[in-house]
Amino acid sequence: MADTLTLVTARERATRRRRFPVLTIISASVLGLIVLASVLAPIVAPYDPAAQSPDRLVGLGGAHLLGTDELGRDLLSRILFGGQLTIFIALGATVLAMLLGLVWGMAAAFLGGWLDELLMRLADTVMAIPQILFALVFVSAFGADPVKLAVIVGILLTPTTARLVRSSVLSELKEDYFTAAVAFGASRPRLVLTEVLPNVRGAIVVQAAINAANAILLEASLSFVGLGIAPPEATWGTLVQQGYQKMYQSIGYVIFPALFIFVTIWLLNVLADQLGAGEKKGVRR
């Protein structure tokens, strides 16, 4: 769906020119901050995320900035450590989806003909099965540790990525510069790596951001149905699920992890938009 998200027209491009870097910088740095805080959780988190205390489900403020959970663990610390896992899964899934999607999409675009048709219909087929059900079955089958979740989510994101890669590569193959490179006798690897790839890089980066957002979304949905990561570890999705069950006792428990999920996905989408707009602006006349 990336192409729809980043569709920007000529007129828009012209006007947007001056505007996007500021927004890009802001969203990238807030995103960076969230990632950094999570990565540095062992240093910045105020408490051991697993340390239980008798202050169960206390609200905002006081000794615990964002309150505590049902075992008296510090919510902020849990969210920060949870961020590590969430980010790991999102990142892993994204990398996997990008790798598989690139190979799949490129193969379809370059091979063409019935192989292309086959590969694309296969992608359509996988896309036809509701992701959440697919994920549910996979998680039930293989369990839910971070690596497996990343793999499952990554696989689910692959078909869309493959489609995008294929369509961006195909539009490059139509350009004369590609024919020119064939005509001056460039070898296949050269055609792929130095001619086409740099030109679809932008679209790929945008898709990566969208994939990361979708990975977080999917992981959160899975956790919400209860098939998330095992305790005491928790992703943001798991925290939301647990918090929701205690919603009437401490509303913050569900709201704060949800907020982290929302803000992260939102920033990723904004970033993807900006990158997409910048990408088109930068290279086309």
């Binding site: 020119a180 490179a181 064939v182 005509a183 001056f184 006798g185 740099p198 006349r285």
Partner: protein
């Protein structure tokens, strides 16, 4: 000018943000007058025209535009909407995309009629049919229910004219109405405009970069450059005695059938620097034809379309190209020229026949062998922007073929890049530029430099100058001829412009619907064209001389009348 002008523009400026592409233009059109607006690309022709319609969204307009005395810039949007398509109508450059693809021709015409004429649907329908008949669309009743894509470009442009004329406007602005059309259609559309304007007494502003067309059609001409008027006057005066050096340069750079093929074309830069007389004096001695380098035999290429239909794009084409010559291939759009060139370079497989380049058939070899052969055959494309990888700098672009073949060291390659740049007349400062930082002509030079880097024997130039301005076109054509002379290159030169073909080639082949219909040495062919199609192509080419052009159009119209060509062509095209 004793009568009050229909359109009176004073000191028009158009700005976008900080840029002001139109910097104060005065323009007057008398009722029923035909004014030509010419000038290089980007000179502000379209912006001026759009300003009259107030259709250039986002622009700030300054100065004064008076239409029949009313100040257009002071009108409300609602009042303006009444004028648009009513008193003032416009025909645009691109007939292919100027009609709404999902509405029938009839619906769009009826809409136009009813917007300014409160008549019943039936009456509007009848009027629309009448208009279609007027602009020469056969079976108008039947055509009303068809969609734009079922019409050829020429037919669509006729519909656009019908739409513009539906309200018998006082003023018609035609912005490059024929640029996208082939020569024969082009001349018929111009005739149509002429006839309609006369019939309705409409004043016309014709925007064109084709000095030939302007010569035949217009009574008065106004030359723009960089958003300013450089010269204006009656056509015969301006063409015969251009006053401004820029106009002189523009006139000089025109390639038409009358140009001397043995001399370089004077380019605008040169003219502006050195004056008309100083350039184009040295002659180009005739070339020696060598042995056969490329031989194409019975090449056939079919495409299977998505719907399962098969198109025979090239149908049994044979020709020989001799070492050191330029072989010109001419024909209208879609006649199969590009397909032939791709077959020659084995960029596409062929369905029949054989190609032999210096004894080797590129279709029979593959892999490394083919790549080696490709060092000797290069190609330059029509669209200079698309042909250059937008992610690479000029030096990377020129270096790429060398790298692909592992030629030289890093240092020797960069030396070669500089050498190539010099060869095509670009300075070292271009080495680190990206395609987007250069003009079309500069990009095309880079494209040529890249092709030359491998020191090929043979180059395919596929519409390599079609996208360029007259003056830049002249530079590139001169460059190509100079390079051929210096390096002994062989060219396969493809164009739909007969005049350019004539100037460049020693042997010419005319293609129509996938076949070569006529082939021969340039001078023979142009002196005495044998094939009907060749003749019609030649007859349709405008000449940049008002008197000659008017005569040509008269003769061509007579020819059409005799043969009924206009109707038949339209029929076959519309139905295809």
């Amino acid at each position: 000018m004793s009568v009050e002008p229909v359109l009176d523009i004073r000191g028009l400026t158009v700005s976008y943000g900080s840029a002001t592409p139109v910097k104060g233009i005065d323009l007057q059109v008398a009722p029923g007058e035909k004014l030509g607006l010419v000038g290089e690309s980007g000179s502000g022709k379209s912006l001026t025209a759009l300003s009259v319609m107030r259709l250039n969204a986002g622009a700030r307009l300054g100065g004064e535009i008076r239409f029949q005395g009313r100040d257009l810039l002071a009108l409300s949007e609602r009042e303006m909407a009444k004028l648009r398509g009513g008193e003032i109508a416009m025909v645009y450059q691109d007939p292919m995309s100027s009609l709404n693809p999902v509405l029938t021709i009839g619906a769009q015409l009826i809409e136009a009629v009813r917007l300014h004429d409160r008549v019943s649907r039936q009456a509007a329908h009848a009027r629309a049919v009448e208009l279609l008949a007027d602009v020469g669309v056969p079976y108008p009743e039947e055509r009303m229910a068809q969609y734009p894509h079922e019409f050829s470009g020429g037919m669509r442009q006729r519909v656009m004219i019908a739409m513009a004329m539906s309200s018998r406007p006082q003023l018609l602005i035609a912005d490059e109405p024929t640029t996208a059309l082939d020569v024969t259609t082009q001349s018929r559309i111009i005739d149509l405009l002429d006839r309609m304007a006369a019939e309705y007494g409409t004043a016309v502003v014709l925007i064109t970069h084709d000095l030939g067309i302007a010569a035949g059609f217009c009574e008065r001409i106004q030359v723009l450059r960089h958003g300013r008027t450089v010269e204006t006057g009656a056509v015969d005066d301006v063409y015969a005695r251009p006053q401004d050096p820029y106009t002189q340069a523009l006139m000089g750079a025109v390639v038409d059938l009358t140009i001397d093929v043995d001399r370089p074309i004077p380019t605008a830069v040169e003219v502006l620097e050195r004056g008309t007389d100083a350039v184009g004096a040295e002659s180009l001695p005739p070339r020696e034809p060598g042995d056969v380098l490329l031989s194409v035999r019975d090449v056939t290429k079919r495409f299977r379309l998505g719907s399962g239909r098969v198109v025979t794009a090239v149908d049994g084409v044979s020709f020989d190209v001799r070492r050191g010559e330029t072989f010109g291939l001419v024909g209208e759009s879609g006649s199969g020229k590009s397909t032939v060139s791709k077959a020659v370079l084995a960029l596409n497989p062929i369905d029949g026949g054989a190609v032999e380049f210096d004894g080797v058939d590129p279709h029979r070899i593959g892999g490394g062998e083919l790549r080696q052969l490709r060092r000797r055959m290069q190609m330059v494309f029509q669209d200079p922007f698309s042909a250059l990888n937008r992610r690479q700098t000029v030096s990377q672009l020129i270096e790429a073929p060398l790298k692909a073949h592992g030629i030289g060291t890093k240092a020797s390659r960069s030396e070669k890049v500089r050498e190539m740049l010099r060869l095509v007349g670009l300075g070292d400062e271009f080495a680190e530029r990206f395609p987007r930082e250069m003009s079309g002509g500069q990009c095309q030079r880079v494209s040529i430099a890249r092709s030359l880097a491998l020191e090929p024997d043979f180059m395919v130039l596929d519409e390599s100058v079609s996208a360029l301005d007259v003056s830049i076109q002249a530079q590139v054509l001169n460059l190509l001829r100079a390079l051929q002379r210096e390096l002994g290159l062989t060219y396969l030169f493809i164009s739909h412009d007969l005049a350019v073909i004539r100037y460049m080639s020693s042997t010419v082949a005319v293609m129509q619907q996938g076949r070569i219909v006529e082939m021969g040495p340039r001078d023979d062919l142009f002196a005495d064209p044998q094939h009907e199609y060749t003749r019609s192509l030649m007859a349709a080419i405008p000449v940049a001389d008002p008197a000659q052009e008017r005569e040509r159009r008269r003769l061509a119209a007579e020819l059409d009348e005799r043969t009924g060509a206009s109707t038949t062509t339209l029929l076959t095209k519309g139905r295809a």
